[in-house]
């Protein structure tokens, strides 16, 4: 009889307890099955722009997205009041970047400095995932740069001599929502250098990072270390830049100060003659606008 009562009791209590925990247990059931089907979601927004400041970042336009960039660097702050602290002497670059796929993008640009055209290609080899299954994002970047400035005294400057190249490996990690760091081994090749004392092949290392201050504002820093002994005909320095990224919908505004006036890799990495200590500081900004050129393919 006692056993019988026990069975009765447990049989009665079982559905009751099930009913009581129904609300949360259904949600728990969903959570459990979601946890079982975890996918490796790639992180987004390691940086806000396709440039940290001067150097390329691991970011690129998505498939069929077109990005238009306008970049300005004014003259040196120590030009004084007569030149309005550099604002009278601006150089600029504008460029278009286009995403062929979500991993591959191409770009073209033109700088006023030496009337240089550039063509770039960026390929995302690895995408960091939120669960750190892949711990970093890695891009390969290639650039070709062609100066078209006419020199009456140098008629021998043919196409080959006017061309230089960049190859870079961009390694970035988004540590958390606020902090991202990028390490960038850089190789530059110049078909023509100033003197025989200068190397045609240049190696450098870029260090860059950003700290988000608010959801739409970040503080960026970049140091492009140029080992000495490679460029000897002119007195060159490593490039150091500090700036802010401000994001507003389809635009990113980057405001910065830097000791490099050039905006393309063969110029700012190995041709930076200014130093912060002497006041050779350039104020500059980059502005991007994103356009969508087609309907994005539906993700499954």
């Amino acid at each position: 009889m006692r056993t019988y009562k026990l069975i009765l009791l447990s049989a009665l209590l079982l559905p009751l307890s099930a009913a009581l925990s129904q609300d949360t247990s259904l949600l728990k059931l969903l959570d459990d099955s979601m946890a079982g089907n975890k996918t490796h979601v790639p992180v987004t927004g390691t940086f806000k722009g396709t440039h940290i400041i001067n150097i390329q970042s691991v970011e690129a336009p998505a498939k069929r997205a077109l990005m238009f960039w306008i970049m300005h660097r004014f003259g040196q702050l120590n030009d004084g009041a007569y030149q309005l602290f550099g604002l009278d002497n601006a150089t600029m670059r504008f460029g278009f970047d286009y995403g062929l796929t979500d991993r591959l993008s191409i770009g073209v640009g033109r700088s006023t400095f030496e009337k240089t055209f550039d063509g770039t290609i960026k390929y995302k080899v690895l995408r960091q995932t939120e669960d750190d299954h892949i711990p970093i994002t890695a891009d390969l970047f290639g650039g070709i740069y062609y100066k078209t400035l006419k020199y009456d005294d140098k008629p021998y400057l043919n196409t080959t001599y006017r061309t230089s190249y960049a190859a870079e490996l961009l390694l970035a990690k988004k540590f958390d929502r606020n902090l991202s760091i990028q390490l960038t081994p850089i190789f530059l090749h110049y078909n023509l250098v100033q003197t025989t004392g200068d190397k045609n092949n240049i190696f450098a290392m870029g260090f860059g990072g950003r700290v988000k201050l608010t959801r739409r504002l970040s503080l960026n820093a970049e140091y492009d270390y140029l080992p000495t002994g490679q460029v000897n005909s002119i007195n060159v320095h490593s490039s150091l830049s500090l700036g802010f990224d401000i994001e507003t919908g389809g635009h990113v505004f980057q405001l910065h100060v830097t000791n490099s006036q050039g905006m393309i890799d063969p110029v700012f990495i190995s041709q930076t003659t200014g130093t912060w200590g002497k006041g050779n500081i350039f104020f500059g900004f980059n502005v991007s606008r994103a356009f969508n050129t087609g309907k994005k393919a539906k993700k499954s």
Binding site: L8, A18, M34, N292, K296
Partner: protein, 201 residues
């Protein structure tokens, strides 16, 4: 549950000398309760649909998620939904990034969930679409709010389809929209949910 039911019956049969009115009543309760519990039927999906739509004169925004987890218990009249916010796909990749980074903050609050019940007595066997009134708790962007809406249920070929359409105000869930883009994002966002749930044991 089948095993328990069998044991109960065997036990009752072997003890019929204790048979009296009280016991009969108790037995009936046990059987009803047990049968009721054994019957508890869950309908479940991992590929439900959630879409939200914002229409203004400047910009139409559409985002859709086809990885919505949903479960409906027709006996308990209970419903639960759960979805990852980074599962929403936008036409513009940049918009999707901004949604996750700036609005939903899906790194901090990865999921939107709903858990609730309905009180309507409905007969699904007819196969017709039936309206129910669901109320419960909606959690989004770390904010849990009491929430109720009309929804429909329809059972066809063993698949229980639940649908609901309602509006949400981003501000109710502490999602702030900067003044610069306020004209491009509707004050009330239209939300559509569809879940084709299959029986789950």
């Amino acid at each position: 549950m089948q095993a328990r039911l069998t044991t109960d019956k065997l036990y009752l049969n072997s003890n019929n000398k204790y048979n009296n009115m009280t016991k009969k009543a108790l037995t009936a309760i046990v059987l009803i309760a047990t049968v009721h519990f054994a019957h508890a039927q869950l309908y479940f999906t991992t590929t439900g649909f959630a879409g939200f739509y914002s229409k203004t004169q400047f910009e139409d925004i559409k985002a859709e998620n086809n990885q919505v987890y949903a479960v409906i218990d027709v006996n308990k009249k209970a419903i639960a939904f759960s979805m990852l916010l980074n599962g929403f796909v936008f036409a513009k990749e940049l918009m999707q990034e901004h949604f996750n980074e700036n609005y939903a903050e899906s790194d901090k609050y990865p999921k939107a969930t709903f858990t609730g019940t309905y009180i309507d007595n409905i007969d699904l066997s007819s196969g017709a679409q039936t309206t129910i009134h669901v109320s419960g708790t909606l959690t989004l962007h770390g904010v849990s709010k009491p929430f109720s809406t009309a929804a429909t249920l329809a059972l066809a070929n063993g698949v229980l389809t639940g649908q609901a359409s309602f509006q949400l105000v981003p501000g109710d869930f502490n999602i702030s929209i900067p003044s610069l883009v306020r004209s491009k994002i509707a004050g009330k966002i239209d939300v559509h949910i569809t879940a084709n749930c299959k029986p789950r044991n």
